[in-house]
């Protein structure tokens, strides 16, 4: 005979199982998804740390507009310049944030923009140089009010 306790445990398990199954699948980037996105950009090339300076505030009140600047050490000459800067994140719905393409006419490899961050996470910037090498920098960001999650009226 099933005791009341067993029944409740079984029922709880059933409800729990149903809950898991009925939760809509929410696309969320993971650190692994970010690595995949990075691999798509760099191919198999090694990514070294250095040369890139990623500037993000360490503590953010509002994840809806976070100022991000990236500067790369480079003379920006036709022979030696930064071709592209890519920014990635770990925990937004999508791992890509922005890709910008520069050239010798840029003068300096310095850009800034405003991004959304859905959670406390690590942001990574990768620079692609004209010699085919890739350089990166990462920054940890604490977000208190997340973007992307609010409902519309």
């Amino acid at each position: 005979m099933t005791s009341r306790r067993d029944f409740l445990i079984a029922a709880g398990g059933l409800v729990g199982g149903l809950d898991l199954a009925s939760v809509p699948v929410r696309a969320h980037a993971t650190p692994a998804a970010m690595q995949d996105a990075i691999r798509k950009v760099v191919g198999g090339a090694p990514v070294s740390r250095g040369k890139v300076k990623l500037d993000v505030p360490p503590l953010i009140d509002n994840g809806n507009a976070v100022t991000v600047s990236v500067a790369v050490e480079s003379p920006m000459t036709p022979a030696e310049h930064v071709k592209a800067i890519h920014v990635f994140n770990e925990k937004n719905p999508l791992p890509n944030v922005v890709s910008v393409y520069l050239g010798p006419r840029s003068g300096r490899a310095e850009i800034s923009t405003r991004i959304r961050l859905a959670d406390t996470q690590t942001v990574t910037a990768i620079a692609e140089l004209s010699d085919g090498s890739f350089w990166s920098d990462s920054a940890s960001v604490v977000v208190t009010l997340a973007a992307c999650l609010e409902e519309l009226q």
Binding site: N92, S106, L152
Partner: protein
């Protein structure tokens, strides 16, 4: 719904000087991940590309994803080579297209 674009380019510059350019455009950058209170998904509507040209030659290009904040702002630099026009174009979902331009005098 198209809001105006705001661009900031120095009016004059010395030849060879590195100038800073700022460009912003009014756009909600709807991510496609939000839902209404009734649970209906709000379709994605973002600007996906921004291109800046200097007398017709591309000097800066950006590919935007939904993680770019509303009213996308970019600041970047270029070398002042000659007098002329610096043109900006944003394109995106639902046939969105917005243009702006500024003139620069290089002495």
């Amino acid at each position: 719904m198209a809001s105006p674009a705001i661009v900031n380019v120095p009016a004059t510059a010395r030849r060879g000087e590195i100038i800073a350019i700022k460009a912003m455009v009014g756009h909600a950058m709807e991510t496609g991940f939000r839902r209404t209170q009734l649970g209906e998904p709000v379709p994605r509507n973002i600007i996906s590309q921004f291109v800046c040209t200097y007398n017709g030659a591309e000097i800066f290009r950006a590919e935007l994803h939904p993680a770019i904040a509303a009213n996308p702002l970019f600041t970047f630099t270029t070398v002042a080579t000659e007098s002329g026009t610096i043109a900006f174009r944003w394109t995106g979902d639902n046939g969105y297209s917005m243009a702006a331009s500024a003139t620069i005098t290089v002495v």
